[in-house]
């Protein structure tokens, strides 16, 4: 199967086998020399290697441009205020429900985010103008890593990856979609589903899935009324986001 992007001839879109192999060798040496922690790294490596970032078969030029346009239509343009009811399902089955307010601008890639209780009490407020700044936070919500994680989630959900499309075509499951290169050497796959909804998956540099978003078909405003964000790992979480209102701002 040919896996070369039409945009970048000669560049394979498989998940960097040489890097994985190098990492494998390094970890193998570490196992020998560094004991437990290296062993742990090796196990992680194996787990990562077991996951599979699907191959994409690039479409012909005409079809590729149509698919790319379709992919780009998934992302909002301009300045928006989005309000969601967020049901968070946490590791162990616990659930929490919050209201989330996001003001984002694709012009300057800025984000302003507020999380509050259903009663309206603000738990967390932060802005990201290239640097995350927490304006208000209760206790553990004040953790800088939490703020960064929230912004990463928002950026993943609503911003087209800034490094752009590297391939558009058909994935292994026969769905049409696009592959994006994202910052931090990540890869994002976006596919349109048969019902008009979307699925987007983010992988790390080793092809390990980090986040998956599933969105219902967009409403008349071009905004999906329901998003689900799933993140794996030891403390996996699932956010079900129901749109309360979407306002395009000037």
């Amino acid at each position: 199967m040919r896996t070369t992007s039409l945009n970048q001839p000669g560049i394979t879109l498989r998940p960097r086998p040489s890097t994985v192999t190098l990492y494998y060798v390094i970890n193998l040496l570490n196992i020998i020399h560094n004991g437990f922690y290296a062993t742990l790294g090796f196990i992680v490596l194996l787990l990562s290697a077991c996951t599979h970032m699907p191959q994409i078969q690039p479409a012909d030029a005409d079809r590729q441009s149509r698919i790319e346009a379709c992919c780009q239509s998934h992302f909002l343009q301009g300045r928006w205020q989005l309000v969601h009811t967020i049901n968070a399902r946490l590791h162990g089955g616990r659930q929490a429900t919050l209201t989330g307010v996001i003001v984002l601008s694709t012009a300057d890639a800025s984000i302003h985010c507020v999380l509050m209780t259903l009663e309206g009490f603000v738990l967390f407020e932060a802005v990201d103008h290239g640097r995350v700044s927490v304006r208000r936070a209760f206790g553990p919500f004040g953790n800088d890593n939490f703020a960064k994680g929230v912004m990463d989630d928002i950026r993943f959900l609503f911003f087209e990856p800034e490094d752009g499309i590297v391939a558009a075509g058909k994935f292994e499951d026969n769905t049409d979609g696009c592959r994006y290169q994202a910052p931090q050497n990540r890869t994002v796959d976006l596919v349109e589903l048969a019902d008009g909804g979307w699925r987007m998956r983010q992988y790390d540099q080793f092809g390990y899935p980090l986040r998956t978003m599933t969105a219902d078909a967009a409403n008349h405003s071009g905004v999906s009324p329901r998003l689900i964000l799933e993140a794996g790992g030891r403390n996996a979480y699932r956010l079900s986001m129901t749109l309360v209102e979407a306002i395009q701002l000037q």
Binding site: V44, L47, S48, Q81, V83, T85, N87, A88, L90, G93, R94, Q95, A96, T97, L98, T99, V101, V103, H112, V114, M116, T117, L118, E119, G120, F121, V122, L123, E125, F138, G139, P140, F141, N143, N145, F146, K148, G149, V150, D152, D153, D204, Y208, L210, R211, A231, G232, G233, R234, N235, A236, Y237, S240, T242, V244, E245, I247, L249
Partner: protein, 212 residues
């Protein structure tokens, strides 16, 4: 193994830190108190408020809640209904934009939120805030504002009570609460909860029924 940073630091495991104690409860208490106690002309003194409040056994009211924040192009509007019965039974229900029900009885509190599976218990809500303030509700309904450990209360004119946090830590998050009564005896008009001058919650009540 690489993970989103959020995974390793998710505070939703404990989304209601102790700092939050009192806020939601005070909100509820404020509403209940007003519904129970205010009638024009008799809210001039704490004694008259206490005397009138002693006659109320149960309350129900519809409410519209507006959340104002600088970030919002227009306020967030929620609607619902509350029911209270002495000494400590409360149903606080939102009907929009998302259905949720908060039930408090005999010191225990549970919240249910509408989801794909129907009304699902929101287990994260340990509701310390509610349980912490619940014992105060009787005091508020009894018109005993000055016994409140969280707020200093003062009367302003004939239709306003001002509550100011006693604790500086609390004041970082709730600047003040203003309670207003309507001209109609026994009927509340609104509650204003200020987090800052431009971040506040307005709650307006209607169809209030108080039973003696």
């Amino acid at each position: 193994m690489r993970q989103p940073v959020f995974i390793n630091s998710c505070p939703l495991n404990n989304p209601f830190p102790s700092r939050l104690r009192g806020f939601a409860g005070c909100l509820l208490c404020s509403l209940l108190l007003i519904a129970a106690t205010f009638c024009p002309g008799w809210a001039d003194t704490w004694e008259s408020i206490r005397a009138a409040a002693g006659n109320v056994d149960a309350i129900s009211a519809d409410f519209v809640q507006e959340k104002h924040l600088p970030i919002l192009a227009r306020p967030l509007v929620s609607k619902g209904r509350l029911f209270y019965r002495r000494p400590d039974s409360l149903r606080w229900e939102y009907t929009s934009p998302v259905k949720s029900v908060l039930l408090m009885h005999d010191g225990d509190a549970r919240r249910f939120v509408q989801s794909d599976q129907g009304l699902v218990e929101d287990a994260s809500v340990r509701l310390q805030a509610m349980q912490f303030v619940m014992p105060e509700i009787s005091g508020w309904l009894g018109g005993r504002f000055q016994d409140n450990p969280l707020f200093d209360a003062s009367l302003h004119g004939t239709n306003k009570i001002l509550l100011v946090p006693k604790d500086a830590g609390m004041a970082r998050f709730i600047q003040r609460i203003e309670l207003f009564m309507s001209d109609r005896p026994g009927v509340i008009e609104k509650v204003m909860i200020f987090e800052s001058e431009d971040a506040f919650t307005r709650m307006v009540f209607s169809n209030t029924v108080a039973k003696a």
